[in-house]
Each structure stands twice: as structure tokens, then as C-alpha cells.
């Protein structure tokens, strides 16, 4: 039997299987089991959730491999882990551990200010953050098999997630009504590979699955992002920094599925206890913003 492994179709295909789902940040095997029980489609294994990374300051790096392996052993759903932007050796380590997806993430301190990882030679797929269509297509050009809008991680403020989703989806709508002769100049303006611009125009969507991330804290936040047109959501600090993580996690999963049914979103939102306290994005100093990391 001829077998092909590590193809782009397989990398992008796993992301297709995650659609309509919620990917949750977890820092212990116990958290991972709570997330799986609540119906998460995958977990992101981390030493600290973004809100704590923010609070701790200092350099944020890839998590301890021992912790990642423990989390991989504790659940049957896919396990993702983060490496620093441009840190291709952290990515090699994560691949060697056998994680199911690598997030080349602005939540960690970047290792390279000019270059992201060349993701094509890896057998494991990558998800990358973006704030606009150009950034999304540059990452796809480097081999990312899934995209997430960045939002502003660790804040519990959904405003940046909305801004970035509107930027990406708005540019795609604009692209579809553009006359052919403007496409090359558009590709140049947004700094995106021309072929991917053409492909996006033809598909009417990104060439890979597109989740929202960074500031989602409630079932209504998740449904908002889904109605704006993303394929699913990442919830980081929003679950395990809240009063009742198990209930909130389940409610966010249910609201993501039934995002178009306000009665269900209302029902699942009842009595969830304290949401994460959060920080308004406007209160952040420019240097405290994570979304500006990467290009």
C-alpha cells in the first residue's frame, strides 16, 4: 500500500475536522480532562494561560515537554502546543513530542523579529495568528494549515478579536468585487502572495480554516465571532480564569454550535458565575499588546 504522510491536505484536513468547535487553553492534565468533558475539540497545552503570562512578564517560552506529554496522555482529543514566532527548534521539539498542531504564537515572546518559521518541511501542521488578510496569506504562504485571528490574548476583551475578524472577512468581500486588473496592486498593498490572493477570491474565503482567538470569555462572545463568519473559536484565559470553568466551558461549546439560535445562547448563558475579570484593551500600553508581535 502506498502511503503519503505530512501532506498539506492532511494538515489542512485536521483543521476542517475542528470546525464548529472550541479549542481550550489548559495548564494541567486535570484542566485538559475538564475541557474534553465539556466538549472541546482540542486543547492547547501551556504552562500558563495568557492572562498569567501577561501578569508574570519576562520571557515566555515553549512549555515544558514533560507537561505537554502528560496532557497528551490525559485526553483523546487533539493536543496543540505553542512555540515562539520564528523559533523553529522549539517547533522541531514539539513535532518530536508528537503534538497534533503547533501554534506559532504571539502570546510567547518572539524569537525572530523578521522571520516566521518555514512551516512547509514539517510533518505536523501549524496554526498562526493574523490581524488582516495580508498577514493571514503570508502565513499560509509559509505553510500554515490553519489561521486564527489574533485578538488580544489574556484580556477577556473581545474588541480586538472582532476588529481582526472584520478586517480579514471584510477584505475578502472587497476582493470578490474587485476588477481583475486591480488584483496585483491589491496583493502588493497587503503584502500577500499573488497566487493566494487569486485563490482566496475564487473561494470567497481563506484557503484554510479560520478560527477566532484573543479575548473570548462568554458564550455570547463565541456566538458573536461565529456570526461574523469564523469557523470556530479558541478560548484561552476565559475558561480557567472564570468562577466555574466546567460549566462555562460547556456553555461556550454549546453556544458555538447553536450560534444562530439566540434562545439557546440565552439558555446556556444562565448562571455561569463570574466571568474572567479582564482588562480593557484600551487600558493596555502599546508595549503590552501581544497582537503587534509578528508581521
Amino acid at each position: 500500500m502506498q502511503k503519503e504522510v505530512g501532506t498539506f491536505a492532511l494538515k489542512a484536513g485536521l483543521a476542517e475536522m475542528l470546525k464548529g468547535g472550541v479549542i481550550m487553553d489548559v495548564v494541567t492534565p486535570e484542566h485538559a480532562r475538564i475541557a474534553e468533558q465539556a466538549g472541546a475539540v482540542a486543547v492547547m497545552a501551556l504552562e500558563r494561560v495568557p492572562a498569567d503570562i501577561r501578569a508574570a512578564g519576562g520571557v515566555a517560552r515553549m512549555s515544558d515537554p514533560a507537561l505537554i506529554l502528560e496532557i497528551m496522555e490525559s485526553v483523546t482529543i487533539p493536543v496543540m502546543a505553542k512555540c515562539r514566532i520564528g523559533h523553529f527548534v522549539e517547533a522541531q521539539v514539539l513535532e518530536a513530542l508528537g503534538v497534533d498542531y503547533i501554534d506559532e504564537s504571539e502570546v510567547l515572546t518572539p524569537a525572530d523579529e523578521a522571520h516566521h518559521i518555514d512551516k512547509r518541511p514539517f510533518r505536523v501542521p501549524f496554526v498562526c495568528g493574523c490581524r488582516n488578510l495580508g498577514e493571514a496569506l503570508r502565513r499560509v504562504g509559509e505553510g500554515a494549515a490553519m489561521i486564527r485571528t489574533k485578538g488580544e490574548a489574556g484580556t477577556g476583551d473581545v474588541v480586538e478579536a472582532v476588529r481582526h475578524a472584520r478586517a480579514v472577512l471584510g477584505d475578502i468581500r472587497r476582493l470578490q468585487t474587485m476588477p481583475d486588473e486591480e488584483l496585483m496592486a491589491f496583493a502588493k498593498d497587503i503584502g500577500a502572495p499573488y497566487e493566494l490572493v487569486i485563490q482566496t477570491r475564487e473561494l470567497g474565503r481563506l484557503p484554510v480554516v479560520n478560527f477566532a482567538a484573543g479575548g473570548i470569555a462568554t458564550p455570547a462572545d463565541a456566538a458573536l465571532m461565529m456570526q461574523l463568519g469564523v469557523d470556530g473559536v479558541f478560548v484561552g484565559s476565559g475558561i480557567f480564569k472564570s468562577g466555574d470553568p466546567a460549566r462555562r466551558a460547556k456553555a461556550i461549546v454549546e453556544a458555538t454550535t447553536h450560534y444562530n439560535d439566540p434562545k439557546i445562547v440565552a439558555e446556556v448563558s444562565k448562571g455561569l458565575g463570574q466571568a474572567m475579570v479582564g482588562i480593557g484593551v484600551t487600558q493596555l500600553a502599546e508595549g503590552e499588546r501581544l497582537a503587534v508581535r509578528g508581521w
Binding site: 500500500m1 502506498q2 502511503k3 503519503e4 504522510v5 505530512g6 501532506t7 491536505a9 492532511l10 484536513g13 485536521l14 476542517e16 475536522m17 475542528l18 470546525k19 464548529g20 468547535g21 474534553e36 468533558q37 465539556a38 466538549g39 472541546a40 475539540v41 482540542a42 497528551m72 483523546t76 482529543i77 487533539p78 513535532e95 508528537g98 503534538v99 497534533d100 498542531y101 510533518r123 505536523v124 501542521p125 460547556k250 461549546v253 454549546e254 454550535t257 447553536h258 439560535d261
Partner: protein, 200 residues
Amino acid sequence: MTIGVLALQGDFAEHSVMLRRAGAEARLVRLPEQLEGLDGLIIPGGESTTIGKLATTFGLMEPLRRFAGQHAVWGTCAGAIFLSKDARRDQPLLGVMDITVERNAFGRQVDSFETELRLPMLESPERPFHAVFIRAPLIDRAGSGVDVLARLEDPEGKGGGRIVAARQGRLLATSFHPELTGDDRFHRYFLTLAGGRGGA
């Protein structure tokens, strides 16, 4: 003919596209009343634990079992697990197909693969079918009422001929994802089951 696609989570949109290409109507199903009037149902790829939990919370388990007793139902990957009697783990299953599945039977994502299968029941059977296996399950055991449609030859010798597609009357389970290929022959085959012409 109108085929439902269970849209709790997973790649339901890809199945809808393939159904339309194969000449059927496609309707998304998230609640029990949306099963009304359908000629068949597809349970897509996704995470079987997520799909099972949402189906339980929204009261779909019994309606889906009743539907499967009267209509054609096809599960791909997570959908196949959901149809099975036994997945060797504690998770909600419909249990309508007499098969036992092993989840993530090939390992993790880095072990996902593409290959070609010979599927004699499809149109143009001489043409191989491109099969995409993503963190895929295997069918370990098929009961006496279950026809094995495809096996995977394994040169690495874990015991050849592991089952990746099976049919029990009008119920169909595949470990792989025909919805991710451009080839709609498997969806056309399912439509013959849903129309009763290829039924048990």
C-alpha cells in the same frame, strides 16, 4: 432527495457541497425536529466526543437512533465512531451499527496519511478511490450482519486487512473522508442506499 448533515461540529459544510454535487438537497441538522422529512443523514468528521456530548445535551440520541432504524445513515471518521456499538471508551454512542472501533488507531496527527483504495461497490470500480485518513479510527470487529466494504492492507504486518469501510443494511461507516476529495462516487453510492435501491 433531501439528505441531512448533522451539524453539531465538524466538516459538515464539505459533505453538503458533495451531496449537492451528487444531485441531492442537503440540510443541516442541529436539533431533533430538523430530522423531519429527510431521506437520509450523514454524520461528518469531527471530534466524536464533542458530537456525542452535544447530541446528548440537545436530546438527539433517541431521535437519531429511531431515524437510523428507518433510513440510510452514513458516518465518516468521528461519525463512524458515533454509529458504533463500542469505542472502548466511555463516551456517548448511538450503538446502531454492530461494529467495534478503535479510536486514533494509527497514532497521532503526524501519522495521518493518504492512500488509494479499491472499492468494488462504487461506479467505475476500476478507478481507485483516494482515501484521506486523519487521526482515523479502525473497525476492529464487524458483527455477522455487517458487510465489510474495504480493508487496508498493512505491509508493516500488524495483521493485514484491517477494516476501513462497512455496511449494515442502510447504515454505512467509513474511517476515511470522501468529503475531502473531489470524488463524489462515495456520496453517489450513499444516495443509492438512501433511495432504497441499494438497501438491505
